[in-house]
Amino acid sequence: MDKLPWLGASVKRKEDDRPLRGSGRFLDDVEETLALHLAIGRCPYPHARIRRIDATRALEQSGVEAVLIGEQVVARTEPITVLRPFPGSAPTVFYGMAHGVARYEGEPVVAVAAVDRYVAEDALELIDVDYEPLPHVITVEDALRPGAPQLHATVPGNVVVESTVRAGEPDRRLADAAVTVEGTFRINRVSGAPIETRGVITRWAEDTSTLELWASTQTPHLLRAQLAHCLRMDETDVRVIAPDVGGAFGLKIGVYPEDIIAALVAIDTRRPVKWIEDRTEFFRGAAHAREAVHALTLGADRDGTLLVLRDRYLIDLGAYHGPLGPPLLTSIMLAGPYRLHDADIHRRIVLTNKVPMGAYRGYGQAESNYVREVLVDRLARRLGQDPADFRRRNLLRPDELPFKNVSGATYDSGDYARGLELALSRVGYETFRTRQKTWRQQGRHVGVGMSCYVEFTGYPSSAFLGRTGARFGAYESVTLRMDRAGRAAISTGVSTFGQGTETTFAQVAASLLGLDPADVAIHRGDSQGTPYSVGGFASRTMIAGAGAIEKAAGQIRDKMLRIAGHILDVNAAALEATAGVIRRRDDPSVQVSIQRVSEAAFLGHPLPPAEDPGLEATAYFDPPSSAFGYGTVVAQVEVDARSGEFALQRYILVHDCGTQVNPMIVEGQVHGAVAQGIAAALFEELVYDRETGQLVNGTMIDYFMPTAADLPAFELDHLETPSPVTPFGIKGVGEGGTIAAAAAITNAVCDALAPFGVELDRLPVTAESIWRALAAARAKG
């Protein structure tokens, strides 16, 4: 392969100009002069029978055009499909609007379309819904109790699915282990909380019976597939367009009830319909994430060799399967970067009367890392070992890779211990331990905590996904076309939500075609005119997208070389494309510009005999394997042992995401993920009142998203081990930063308070939770 000049370059982003000038086009920036605006009435109760809806007074209001109720939605649509159901799951019938029974506070019950949002909200107040509140369940433990309220007749006992992963001889190992530690951990329910909420615009064309839907989505094609199914339409008759997306983080995957509602209202009224989610709706409608309870056991030899892992965990799915499905990676990544052959992992996915769970950056991986790494530290303490030494002993070595973990995932490459050592050296670990003793004598409680992770990025082939029941593939696709001026254009179904794909895709294409990234235009996010696409999630876009670009660009480059060879009268094999020209490798003075070659392809001459006009290729790439990033976080905290208050003084992350297409963007992705990791570890939690079943803090006022003043400066180091199994050695990078935060900080606090024997087992870690843990430790003596 020719060398790739733009791979590894910190090219400034193509995407930046629009939002910097305020000329970005986000969903609500798409103005529709004739549009109707939707307001959605939502169930105020966690669980209620809807006995009657009377919209008479609302329909009499001037400016009100239509009212939609659940009865109509159920009659005219199919329930929302699950893109990646857990194999064997019992279905939870989830329509675009509740009919008969609503199962979470916030479930759509009625919609009003009016000339503007203000009027629509006025009308909503005039609709009388006769509710009969039903008994509800808020915690997974309550949901499993005999006699608990049942959410769905299809799901007896509220357990959607129960499954086990076993490897080796876990029972024997547990019996043999010289030391075992157990812990029960509660992981908080959080929200990805992009600054732009969700939104949708629908247009119905009566003449062609086709629907156009603009949505703030990560997955235009998957949304189209699900929406068409729900509306009983053919995909071809549905077009989905994602404009600029103001942050997504996993919760903008697939179809949501509001998409279906807006489509039906557009069909009924023959008018464009706009729905912009407000923040109060967001916290009661957009996917929640992470909540789980784990009972984890680890066993080791006397010398500190990790022998076995056992987990019994419950995932709180909320009231329905969301459009994507529950996290699969919790089980798959529980073993982490350690040499572990024996495990027994038992999972139950449980229903509660809460907002359906969905994906969130690090889906499943942040959860399993937290429980494992916190318990690893406890195990090290029990053994009287330094937590760094314990990890050194058990981390997989480069020569042991590829390594198939207890759940069947195959780690491809990396030097896990090197990441750990680098992170430890950044904090000055050995010196720190000495200074820590001095500080303790002075009454200061400073601690360092570490957390090591391996990160599953990309999907290992469509066939693998198919075997696990997914209704989408692992591939990504592009159409690449040269224009007569010699510029390239990429059409991709991936939308732009901050991840930098427009720039990195251009860098890969430019490198392969001998162009400057500025000469590669990106058309994205429109299901019409782009090949079938899966979308931007699961840290898969760059891996799969680069593969598709490589194939398409290869075809175009070969054709350009043939045309250039014809023009220059040189064998194409002797030519190369670079810096805007095609030239002889051995004599660069013999050259023709790419512009001229493109023009020839456009005009149809001069072309070699039997060569078709045009320079255009569509390619799909289905990655054969996943690639595994890895890294270590080291956090340093100082804790006030009286009040529980603490300061996060340092946050060091060393990570390896393989080949970096654009180091500037990689660093930005890591920063953002780290901030979200810290946010979920220290600040954020969606709190439900167990008795009333209501969300207590569903506003930005009470959901504590951190500000610039709440986060430290992050210290980042990179390793770069190209993956042997992906195009250009790329590994995904968007999610890694979230994974190790909670454990590293928890371990740092426990380390600081080790003289008191403090153990923390719930998130978020707050001054109050530390104070409680201190009190518990003191009570234990």
Binding site: T280, S643, F683, F704, E768
Partner: protein, 287 residues
């Protein structure tokens, strides 16, 4: 969410505002900085028939010192308090408290009077008013009255203000030469306090302190002046034992509730800690 229908009136004078309040018969709201009022309108938790914008009333934001008091007009914005040399020198507690309020944008719009009328139990402005023993000057069409903070604040988000009355100004005692400290524990920067403590006093040349006053925020339905603790410190040198005793007394004032920010128990735990921290800091300020 969007506000429900309402009428808007921009009052050019206090008389106009008061006349409008009377005309709407208790169903109108005064709009000052709007930083608490507008979100409540948007969430449709408040739906007055009208809002009466008092931002255009001249002189309502005056800050002047004289006759042993500092007069601060109800419309004085946080940013004006931050920038005011009079406040810095003569009501240093207020100057110390303002940076804890919200964020830059909020401080550019929010007003002292608005915050007092909102009467948030965790608010910094009620805390200052209570701690300093401010006088709140109230006006309606019939005349004027002045209230002490204890009489003005009646409970969470509840004041003695009648629907036809307007808070016109606040008088703080001239605190030239006093030192002041505000200490807070919050869940994130700029967030409502879990517990806040205000402490102020006048250091004397002999090393003792006079006019010590301690206030507690977010530990009851309204901000509390810790009278017993404060009086106990008069004339002391704020030695560690004095401070500890005062902290213990402050705890007696606390009747906190649990909410999403913290439990009542944790608030109680924090009270003496933050009081000690505030008084310790105050002691170190002695010139």
């Amino acid at each position: 969410m969007k506000p429900a229908p309402l009428e808007y009136l921009a009052a050019a004078t206090a008389e106009e505002a008061l006349a409008a309040l009377a005309r709407f018969d208790g169903n109108a709201r005064l709009l000052a900085g709007g930083q608490s009022l507008v979100p409540l309108l948007s969430m449709r938790l408040l739906r007055p028939t009208a809002v009466i914008d008092i931002n255009g009333i001249p002189g309502l934001d005056r800050i002047v010192a004289g006759d042993g008091v500092v007069h601060v007009g109800a419309l004085a914005r946080y940013s004006a308090l931050e920038a005011s040399a009079v406040i810095r020198e003569r009501v240093p507690l207020l100057a110390k408290a303002v940076p804890f309020v919200g964020d830059r944008q909020i401080r550019n719009r929010g007003t002292l009077g608005g915050a007092l009328c909102h009467a948030d139990p965790a608010g910094e402005m009620p805390l200052c008013a209570v701690t300093l023993g401010a006088r709140l000057h109230i006006v309606d069409r019939a005349g004027r009255r002045a209230l002490d903070p204890e009489a003005f604040f009646q409970g969470p988000y509840t004041t003695a203000l009648e629907p036809t009355e307007m808070l016109e100004a606040v008088e703080f005692p001239d605190g030239a030469g006093t030192e002041a400290v505000v200490v807070e524990h919050a869940r994130r920067h700029g967030d409502f306090a879990v517990v806040s403590v205000a402490a102020t006093g006048l250091p004397t040349p002999d090393g003792s302190w006079r006019w010590i006053r301690i206030g507690l925020g977010a530990v009851a339905g309204r901000a509390r002046y810790a009278r017993r603790a404060s009086e106990g410190l008069a004339g002391t040198r704020l030695q560690p034992a004095d401070i500890e005793a005062a902290a213990a007394r402050c705890l007696e004032e606390a009747e906190p509730a649990s909410d999403v920010r913290a439990s009542a128990e944790y608030r109680r735990h924090l009270v003496p800690i933050l009081v000690e921290r505030a008084l310790g800091e105050l002691a170190r300020r002695r010139r």
